[in-house]
């Protein structure tokens, strides 16, 4: 286990720019944009529906105005929480999307780069099996990259939520910011982010696995060696069946994450802390239910074969 963790650490150090700095930079840009939205009217538009009140929020100024005139302190609290929650989404989703894109490129270089710089000879002088190395590279490039992004995204979301809450509680002279970052909301959002990463990787695993295999096998330009076989099969499919390509659809479905059935109300939040947490838990349950599909398990079998193939190629190849 210690050796495996060291392998994961090594992978992270090698791909630190993609795994850590990419989400940090994206988050920093988002943070600037979101905080800018707090200052300039019209830069945000969120429709908040309470049981008996509907508020169009265009800026933090709108929120404060609504708190003062329409809602009063009690009803202002959940509005603020709803905005904080929405900002959590806004902070998380782009970070995760860009991290998913980065993860494919990290996977693409994972096996190839150690042969390109000949460091494979050093790593092979260590008492660790090729299979263990292949699994570490697979997990670090896919799940590791996404989890780092999720952690950065959640931290960004927290900062944003605190900013909104502080702004709101300052305006109403009550310490509402503590409830604005309600643990149930933040906790379930973090859980949802982690679950999304996990199920995304599980569904996209065959694509990741294929890229890992191609990276181990490609004598040069792993991108070409990754793309050419499926594209060639896709074209062959189209020519023979005179309809679309099953393989291309399958790749597209898995890479886009559509199998996760993510359906979160970004623009229209029906809010209560427990209700939100429940909705998020339902979303996690929906993702977990997708694992009942035979497609899910067939994909994992293909992934295992790819990882095994990668380790066998690495066992026999040093250049």
């Amino acid at each position: 286990m210690k050796a495996f963790l060291s392998l994961l650490k090594s992978e992270h150090l090698e791909h630190r720019a993609g795994q850590l700095w990419t989400p940090v930079i994206v988050s920093a840009i988002l943070l600037v944009l979101l905080l800018g939205g707090m200052l300039y009217e019209g830069s945000m538009l969120i429709n908040v529906t309470l049981e008996d009140t509907n508020v169009d929020v265009r800026s933090v100024g709108d929120v404060l105005e609504a708190i003062r005139t329409d809602l009063g302190p009690e009803k202002a609290k959940p509005v603020l929480q709803a905005i904080a929650f929405s900002s959590t989404y806004i902070a998380l989703l782009p970070v995760l999307l860009i991290a998913a894109l980065a993860s494919y490129f990290i996977m693409l270089s994972s096996m190839h780069s150690e042969r390109a710089d000949r460091s494979v000879l050093f790593w092979k002088s260590m008492p660790v099996s090729d299979l263990k190395v292949a699994v570490a590279k697979f997990l670090s490039s896919s799940l590791g990259t996404l989890l780092f992004a999720a952690a950065v995204g959640i931290a960004t979301a927290l900062i944003t939520a605190i900013c909104y809450a502080v702004a709101g509680s300052t305006a109403t002279a009550t310490p509402e910011w503590q409830s604005a970052i309600h643990p149930a909301v933040i906790g379930s959002t973090a859980l949802l982010a982690i679950a999304t990463c996990l199920f995304y990787v599980l569904w996209a695993a065959p694509v990741y696995g294929w890229i890992l295999l191609a990276s181990a096998w490609a004598p040069r330009s792993p991108l070409l060696y990754t793309a050419i076989p499926p594209v060639a099969i896709g074209i062959l499919e189209v020519l023979t069946t005179r309809s679309g390509s099953w393989l291309m659809r399958e790749i597209g479905t898995r890479v886009s994450g559509s199998m996760l059935h993510i359906d979160l109300p970004l623009g229209n939040v029906l809010y209560s802390p427990s209700g939100l947490a429940g909705m998020l838990m339902n979303q996690i349950a929906t993702m977990a239910a997708s694992a009942a599909s035979p497609r899910f398990w067939l994909g994992l079998v293909f992934t295992v074969l790819c990882i095994w193939g990668t380790s066998e190629i690495r066992r026999r190849r040093i250049a």
Partner: protein
């Protein structure tokens, strides 16, 4: 036994990189594998390390290197013929990762050794000079409690001072009667004094496998004046080299009295033996 090979061979397509060869290496030896480029030295070493598949039977520390490479590397250290340390990593991170991966790595020992060099722990490998990279690699390798150390052209591209200190460190900090070292090199003169055994290779074939003592007994060199050249040629020298007014001959198992009659027999340098063994006859003349 550290290494046992029977009919070990390797073919890349039509090219026979290593012809069937059999040998064994017990503990307490420093074996030099010597040969020109393309002789099959690296192929042989790669097979020993489980880096390539092969034909024939091969056991290293009683393991099949290809199947049990991970287990074998608990007791084998090696430095390959090119700079192989990952260039993106920092020195301290490298030590930390090796410590996590290798149960027989003594990090403190490596740090002590590095403290005596100019290698900074916070530096990335790509920022180090070639000599510093070798020092770092050596610090790691010598801090692993291994039974076999394999060095494949380890001092290639290093200056004289670094080459000397490299072999001095290996002799003083690694070698004892329970361990063995296999080293391949072109720079025959530099390792001559450290070797106990020599394997000379030519075109994928081991053409000479003997101890340094056996070589001293078998081979002798004599400087023969041109006037006695015919007598020397009659003893079928394995190598000759012309100089002004005389020719240096190398003889294999020639009678000592007949050699003494030609001139003063002397010990053959490994460099002369290397040329005599791996070079097709007549080329040196």
């Amino acid at each position: 036994m550290i290494v046992e090979a029977n009919g070990l061979a390797k073919r890349y397509g039509q090219i026979q990189a290593l012809k069937p060869t059999s040998f064994s290496i017990p503990p307490g030896r420093i074996v030099g594998i010597i040969g020109p480029n393309g002789a099959g030295k690296s192929t042989l070493v790669n097979a020993l390390l489980g880096l390539i598949n092969h034909e024939g039977s091969l056991r290293v520390l009683d393991r099949d290197p290809l199947k049990d490479r991970a287990s074998l590397m608990h007791e084998v250290s090696y430095i390959a013929d090119v700079a192989t340390l990952p260039r993106w990593i920092r020195v301290k991170d490298l030590l930390s990762i090796v410590e996590g991966i290798h149960p027989r790595f003594d990090r403190r020992k490596a740090e002590d050794r590095l403290a005596r060099t100019t290698v900074r722990p916070t530096a990335r490998v790509r920022e180090l000079s070639k000599g510093m990279i070798v020092q770092l690699h050596l610090a790691i390798v010598l801090s692993i409690d291994a039974r076999l150390l394999v060095l494949d052209e380890p001092t290639l591209g290093l200056d004289l001072i670094n080459r000397r200190s490299f072999y001095d460190a290996i002799l003083s900090d690694f070698f004892d009667e329970t361990r063995s070292i296999i080293v391949t090199t072109h720079q025959v003169e530099e390792i001559e004094h450290v070797l106990t055994h020599v394997m000379m290779m030519r075109q994928g074939e081991v053409v000479l496998d003997a101890s340094i003592d056996e070589l001293s007994e078998r081979f002798a060199a004599v400087d023969v004046p041109d006037s006695r050249k015919a007598e020397a040629e009659a003893l079928r020298p394995v190598y000759s080299r012309r100089a002004i007014g005389r020719t240096s001959y190398v003889f294999d198992s020639a009678p000592q009295d007949r050699l003494a009659a030609l001139g003063e027999p002397r010990r053959v340098s490994l460099a002369d033996l290397f040329v005599a063994t791996v070079q097709p006859k007549g080329e040196a003349e």
